[in-house]
């Protein structure tokens, strides 16, 4: 059981990392789950749209405009997805 859970956990973490790296065109080593919006020049109003589009594609969850606008960093995306049953534990 533990091995299976680890697989799911890694999959969602990697999916989110791939997504954020692609949306904001990050360089190697720039991504972390503590990454803040203010640290990413491309996380502007267009970036908000890209994140919402990408989250829907990668995780099947459609963020509300309020959720997308309220994001302050990667950790907020994780919180919203976990609240909607997508595990990062």
């Amino acid at each position: 059981m533990e091995t299976i859970n680890l697989g799911v956990e890694m999959s969602n973490k990697v999916k989110l990392q791939d997504l954020i790296v692609d949306v904001f065109l990050l360089e190697d080593g720039e991504y972390s789950e503590n990454l803040k919006k203010d640290d990413v020049p491309n996380w502007d109003s267009l970036g908000v749209v890209s994140v919402a589009v990408g989250v829907q594609e990668a995780f099947g969850y459609h963020m509300t405009p309020e959720e997308a606008m309220s994001l302050t960093g990667v950790s907020d995306i994780i919180k919203i997805l976990e609240k909607n049953g997508i595990s990062f534990e």
């Binding site: 997504l19 692609d22 065109l25 267009l46 919402a52 829907q56």
Partner: protein, 305 residues
């Protein structure tokens, strides 16, 4: 704001324009015809610039010249009345508050409500001297505006519904001669102004300065591949087609009519070279499907298929 899809002869539509304080700013290939149609008025060609402070400027030409006139009025002569007469459909520039200009080698949109011309008139009196290929590309441009507005992540359900109805009307017209394309182009441009465009325009705006190809040609060329890319990379494309009653197969068939495999192949090296700029283009960033650094591989595969 005037809206005249009545195809009244141009001299009647412009009968209130006086030669004393007005000039006709006309695209050079249309100059002779324009002088025949409006023999009483004064003309300048597209390479010239009107005098600041003129009462009225009537601009006759395609989207690029209309954009140039909009920017000139906006920046240099804001009290001049601007009347737009598009010679060909596609951009819808005559009725929106967007103008495109090339800055530092990149095509960029300027958005301001005051850019909109005061009036616009439609006529078929330039169509017989307009090459068929330009008419077809103009329709491709209009399809790209309408489809990108329809799929835009920024479109409201109401706007998406209006775009869907427009697309259904556009599919009913099979040829590239009908004056209704003016009206459809205008609506498509106004819908994308209220939502966004996407990857088709991100590619076109990036490649225009470095290839020398026109906006409508590039939008027509990438219309079908990008629609396929979006469809294969997100279920939302098929879902929206279904939800709004659009026939997916018919749309794919129609948009493939604008695709030119040879030009696509010729431009593939440029597409790959400029892909890092394309994915950074603001228009690509609001595409209906996420455009990734690796997505250029899909376009290579598409060509190889």
């Amino acid at each position: 704001m005037g809206f005249h899809l009545n195809n009244i002869p141009l001299d009647e539509q412009l009968q209130d324009v006086s030669s004393n304080n007005a000039v006709i700013w006309v695209s050079s290939p249309l100059m002779e015809r324009a002088k025949q149609l409006l023999p009483e008025l004064s003309f300048i060609n597209s390479a010239e610039t009107p005098s600041v402070g003129l009462g009225t400027v009537v601009v006759i030409g395609g989207g690029s010249l209309i954009d140039k006139a909009k920017l000139w009025r906006h920046r240099s002569s804001p009290n001049t009345k601007l009347i737009a007469v598009p010679s060909i459909w596609g951009s819808g520039s005559e009725g929106n508050g967007i103008a495109l200009e090339i800055l530092d080698g990149a095509k960029k949109p300027v958005v301001d409500e005051s850019l909109k011309p005061d009036s616009y008139y439609y006529t078929d009196q330039f169509l017989d001297i307009t090459p068929d290929v330009l008419k077809k590309r103009g329709v491709g441009d209009a399809f790209s505006h309408a489809l990108e507005a329809f799929f835009s992540p920024l479109a409201s359900p109401q706007l998406r519904g209006m775009s869907a109805e427009l697309l259904k009307d556009m599919l009913k017209i099979k040829g590239y001669e009908d004056i209704k394309w003016f009206e459809f182009s205008l609506l498509a441009s106004q819908y994308q102004e209220k939502s966004s465009v996407g990857l088709i325009h991100g590619i076109a705006h990036t490649l225009e300065p470095c290839t020398g190809l026109g906006h409508a040609e590039l939008c027509s060329l990438y219309l079908y591949p990008v629609l396929k890319f979006n469809s294969e990379n997100s279920p939302k494309v098929d879902n929206f087609f279904l939800e709004y009653g659009l026939n997916k197969e018919e749309m794919f068939q129609r948009t493939s009519d604008f695709f030119d495999p040879k030009t696509f192949a010729d431009l593939l090296p440029k597409l790959k070279e400029y892909w890092p700029l394309i994915i950074r283009n603001p228009l690509s960033r609001v595409n209906s499907v996420l455009v990734r650094a690796s997505s250029v591989g899909w376009f290579e595969e598409f060509f190889n298929e």
